[in-house]
Point group: C2
């Protein structure tokens, strides 16, 4: 079973070892604090399992985790701070629970069952309200030295750039998030910007182009360090925009890419798992791989 727990929604899937979804459940919620969150997760798992036996749960959370994945350091939208959430859910359900950050879990979902299937090292960038990400090596999450690797939206593209909510300057998120796209297109949200771009609106087209170029520059910087074979572009905005976002990304990667004479640039692909990527990835983390 995989659970993707956001600030207002919870998506649960039961999958076979091949990643086929046997059952999916979706709900909105307002759970805040450890007691409510554990109640919510337990109820979601039991509802989705129906009369099937639950053997293990992968739990993707919109949160920062410790490097050992035992503890939610902070989850602002869930009112959690320093909570050993995996243990707490295990105590309730009596099965092993593996915690992961939601952006990383989505990257695992795409690597195991989606657009990055078969890759050695894939990077996922999710363009939604913000810009999230994850790095997956041979099917496993790159956690980093303090557990916070994959915060790709907060790579700084320009240290003289605009201030970011994170405290940095010129972060990728300042140029390529749904909020940035809407602001630059003059629309109320990124969905409207995508719709306007499809009608040929110049400001909206230019907003997506700028976002794509920023994403492409970020990918190019990562490529020299990580050498990904596949980069997956996901999130609601990317799903709507498709090639309007992917083409400027590919162009920017080709333009910036160093070592291009000897290194194959990564393939840039649109995400294939949709909004279920996080839950699928969480489930995949507790399913043994066939290799």
């Amino acid at each position: 079973m995989g659970v993707d727990l956001g600030g207002t929604k919870v998506l649960t899937v039961a999958i076979t070892p091949d990643g086929a979804v046997q059952q999916r459940c979706y709900d909105t919620h307002h759970a805040r604090g450890e007691v409510e969150v554990v109640d919510l997760v337990a109820a979601a798992v039991l509802q989705c399992a129906a009369d099937q036996e639950v053997t293990a749960v992968g739990l993707a959370v919109a949160a920062w985790l410790t490097a050992d994945r035992s503890t939610v350091t902070i989850a602002v939208n869930l009112g959690l701070c320093d909570v050993r959430l995996g243990e707490a859910v295990t105590a309730r359900l009596g099965v092993p629970v593996i915690l992961e950050n939601d952006g990383n879990a989505a990257a695992v979902g795409e690597a195991r069952f989606g657009a990055a299937r078969g890759s050695r090292l894939s990077i996922m960038l999710s363009v939604g309200t913000g810009v999230g990400g994850g790095v997956v090596i041979d099917g496993r999450v790159l956690a980093g030295g303090h557990g916070l690797a994959g915060e790709l939206g907060h790579m700084s593209l320009d240290d003289q750039g605009p201030a970011c909510v994170c405290g940095g300057r010129g972060c990728l998120e300042c140029y390529a998030s749904g909020l940035a796209i809407a602001r630059s297109a003059g629309t109320t949200n990124a969905q409207d910007a995508v719709a306007a771009a499809r009608q040929g609106d110049p400001a909206a087209l230019s907003a997506l182009e700028s976002a794509g170029i920023a994403l492409g520059r970020g990918i190019a910087q990562l490529s020299a360090a990580l050498d990904p074979d596949v980069v997956v572009i996901g999130g609601g905005v990317a799903a709507g925009a498709g090639d309007l976002l992917l083409q400027p990304i590919r162009r920017a990667v080709r333009n910036v890419r160093s070592l291009s004479t000897v290194v194959d640039p990564p393939e840039i692909r649109l995400a294939a798992c949709g909004p279920e990527a996080g839950a699928l990835g969480a489930a995949a983390m507790v399913v043994p791989r066939r290799s």
Copy 2:
């Protein structure tokens, strides 16, 4: 045994499982092509082993390797192209051989025995004639999707910047290599620039400062993606310059660093293994770890 094979030098060490060097041998060479290179490596190993039994060899090479580490794709300074070098040395010596890129091997050396000992995810940047690098996760090299991760000198800091030998623009190496430091300081080489800076020469001080800032910006970009706990600065230029290079690096990392309110920035440390890091790392790859 670990061998570090450069274009003109070969350094061989025999180590204990703790990384204590039992024997070291150094030689210059002009070996070119598979036959001469295999002869050279075999002779270096047998000479350094003396009458001890050789059980396995780690071989660090100034080369690009395939992702599976079986094959040297290209080693310009050794005249090798598409050579299964590990197999060829195994055929000669009758022991297992593990190949690695020299920058990555040095990063392993520092992670296992040097400045990044005990780290979960460390990055090494080597400032010599160029800028090399490597990423080590739990003691193992991050190889990447095509085997070419860790080319940190070719991260682009400015896609409108100067042209780099690699075909890219504004690569870190263009700003922070020994060549760039010497050019900017107006000296014949980086060693002279370091000496002049120690005498208070303003142009030389400014050259090291600029190089440090560029390195710091590169490290800050990597930090959001990889979240290293330790970054090791090595190479001949860094060993000579010490704090003259490290202080601007630390300052630039603090200035750019996103997420700084929640993420500990990486510790920036001077390399501890010196020119033996590559050979030590190569040896470490064939020594079982005590954990």
